[in-house]
Amino acid sequence: MSSNHQSIVADVEAAREESDLIRRSARGDKEAFGVLYKLFAPRVYGVVYGIVMHHETALDITQLTFVRVWKALPRFKQGSPFFPWIYAIARNRALSEIAKRKNKPSVLELDERIAGEDETHDKHVELKEDIGRALAKLTPEHREVIILRHFQFLSYQEIAESLGCPVGTVMSRLHNARKAMKALLKGWEDDA
């Protein structure tokens, strides 16, 4: 069996398991909801943190989001993607939180993922900080769309569902956000 086929089988299994957990949670099974929580809370936290740029606030919003998700689960349309649905619940609070904030952080904390072979650790750290600073300078809407695409790997359709807007809007917003990032990371792009 090819590794590609194995990965497809694993994806199908995961999707089946996820939809079973959602169904059980919607019927009031808190144990199943706990598993869903552990699967999705870190992702929700990650994106919300990306928008509000404050760990405690992001944790608070994640907690509130899951209390709401529990109440709204019976209305969830089985078969549709789950993460965009949860994120749609979280985002209004995240955006209103960042709008209220007077002192916005100047850098978004990020973790390192992979370093290029020809890259020193110091250079990688510098790149991480520069990307964090560039992201912090974007508007929350641009930062949000960059995070959903680059860090959560959502499709345009899934992003559109999360934001409640047409796919065309996602396409142009993402393009504008990338152009802004490109301008902010000028030196690094030349190095790539």
């Binding site: 990650g46 995070i147 993402l174």
Partner: protein
């Protein structure tokens, strides 16, 4: 095809989000247009460097503790619903009993019945007004569901 028509579709091309026919047309244009090919290369470079970082993650222990707070909150909400249902049933029975047995009892002087009736009505109005105020305040409290 003109550069104006390409625009944001360069991002969609990079993400593999275009229909096959449109993808071919855009690629054909990118091959011959210096401006668009530079822009496309810049987008690719940006994607390359973005792959080197990720959003911060928290240790599992944080999520375990966090889940127990969410769980308590959910469990408590079931308790509130049951408590409210029980209270409503008892209140309904009390109202029924009062009207049937007490206000209709001709042996009690009418002045006492009227006095107690007005007093009870006053208490009901006060309770309703207070509850309504609390509900309105809750609606504007952003952190009402938060357990700290």
């Amino acid at each position: 095809m003109k550069c104006d028509e390409v625009g944001a579709k360069l991002s969609a091309l990079l993400d593999g989000e275009l229909p096959p026919e449109e993808e071919k047309n855009i690629l054909r244009h990118v091959k011959v247009c210096k401006k668009c090919s530079t822009e496309y290369r810049d987008l690719k470079n940006l994607e390359y460097i973005m792959k080197k970082v990720q959003l911060p993650d928290l240790p599992d222990a944080v999520w375990d503790e966090h889940w127990s707070q969410v769980y308590n909150r959910l469990e408590r909400s079931v308790g509130y619903v049951l408590l409210s249902l029980g209270f409503i049933i008892l209140l309904g029975y009390l109202i029924f009993w009062t009207v049937n047995c007490w206000f209709c009892d001709a042996t009690i002087p009418i002045i006492i019945r009227v006095g107690v009736g007005l007093g009870s009505l006053g208490i009901v109005i006060l309770i309703v007004s207070t509850v309504r105020e609390k509900i309105l305040m809750r609606r504007f409290d952003q952190y009402k569901e938060l357990q700290r």
